[in-house]
């Protein structure tokens, strides 16, 4: 635990508002990014879910054992809340979706240009939201919460090798999804052009 977080937790447990504020500000952004890209809430509702995460965590501060894993604990609670919210909203990736992802074609054009074209956050977010749950979890914890491999393994409760494997498949599928989005976009534009020509 770095930056005197142990002391801050101690103060927060004793009811110190300032310490609580520092802890919240320290982890707020990463929790927000994680929950947004997990695809369980809209941008307007995400702050409520972050608030709920902190509330549940800090209400249980009295039982928290100072083992240097506050961040792990917070993210685990956030992930559980995100899973519940996603289940409630019915946004579940089916087996059919997963099979369809595996059959996607490979990049055929200039790969660097293709990825550069896909930098748009909305497209990226939509593609991330379509990943299978376990892969999406690993991906958002690594890239959106910026957590190291061992911490991700602790949060999701898997060996590090499994997390690596999930990250590998997540990135591979993401690449395929971005390509599919681009192909769709190109075909749509071509159909539009053909329609204009006929008129």
């Amino acid at each position: 635990m770095g930056d005197g977080e142990g002391d801050l937790i101690g103060l927060a447990r004793a009811g110190d508002r300032q310490a609580l504020g520092v802890l919240v500000e320290r982890h707020y952004g990463a929790l927000r990014a994680l929950l947004l890209r997990y695809g369980c809430v809209s941008a307007s509702d995400v702050d409520d879910l972050v608030q709920e995460t902190f509330l549940r965590s800090f209400r249980a501060l009295a039982r928290y054992e100072d083992r240097g894993h506050l961040r792990t604990w917070l993210f685990r609670i956030a992930l559980n809340l995100a899973r519940d919210a996603r289940r409630r909203s019915g946004l579940v990736v089916t087996q059919a979706d997963v099979k369809a992802l595996a059959d996607l074609p490979d990049f055929s054009g200039d790969p660097v240009q293709l990825v550069l074209d896909r930098f748009d956050g909305a497209v990226l977010g939509a593609a991330v939201a379509r990943l299978p749950e376990s892969q999406r979890e690993a991906l958002v914890l690594r890239f959106y919460a910026d957590l190291p491999l061992e911490e991700i393994a602790r949060i999701v409760g898997c060996p590090e090798g499994t997390v690596k494997s999930r990250l590998y498949y997540a990135l591979r599928k993401l690449r395929g999804l971005l390509l599919a989005a681009q192909v769709e976009e190109t075909e749509g534009a071509r159909r539009e052009q053909q329609g204009d020509g006929q008129v």
Binding site: R13, E52, G121, D146
Partner: protein, 194 residues
């Protein structure tokens, strides 16, 4: 993935493009081991296709990280306001003994409500020690439950020790007095935890 790792560890002179292609996403994600990353670096100095593949993977990783950085930036003051609101809600829950239910009831108040909640700002919130609100909720319920159970058992006819009726009464007492609370209390505890 394990097969790939072992192939790299006990590698031959030149690792094939197939193996490197499987390592590239891990290198871009920053989770490849030192051996794996060195192998990829060595390979791409001689292989144009894999170099492009690595560049592409790095760009995708960069796009994800930049997207993450954008999303981490909440509106100015939101985190500070959330901390204030949180302190108020923690204080209210501890003071009234509402616990999870009471706190959850206010789960949607942010923004203007959060700002209003700051108005009367104490220096700290009341803190309960030890088991917190849980002991207060479970303790009296357990006492009442055991008292009712004892009253019912004391009014039953007393069968001879070792008879089938006596054994049945013992089994009932074990289930009702021990097993049921053992199942229910941990459930309450796990609800509290998460």
């Amino acid at each position: 993935m394990l097969a790939v790792n072992s192939r790299v560890t006990g590698r031959s002179e030149f690792t094939g493009c197939g193996v490197i292609a499987e390592l590239v996403p891990l290198v871009a994600a920053g989770v490849a081991s030192g051996t794996e990353a060195a192998e990829v670096r060595r390979h791409v100095t001689r292989c144009y296709v894999c170099r492009r593949r690595l560049e592409e993977a790095h760009l995708l990783a960069l796009a994800l990280r930049e997207d993450g950085a954008d999303l981490r930036c909440a509106a100015p003051g939101v985190a500070a306001r959330a901390a204030e609101l949180l302190a108020d809600r923690l204080g209210r829950a501890a003071a009234t003994g509402l616990g999870a239910g009471g706190a959850r009831a206010g789960a949607t108040e942010t923004g203007a409500a959060g700002a209003r909640a700051q108005a009367a700002e104490p220096a700290s919130w009341p803190v309960r020690s030890g088991m917190g609100g849980l002991a207060w909720r479970v303790g009296p319920a357990a006492v009442v439950y055991l008292a009712v159970l004892a009253a019912v058992v004391s009014r039953l006819p007393r069968p001879g020790t070792g008879s089938p009726a006596w054994l049945a009464a013992c089994a009932y007492a074990a289930v009702a007095g021990v097993a049921v609370p053992l199942v229910l209390i941990p459930r309450r505890l796990s609800d509290e935890e998460e």
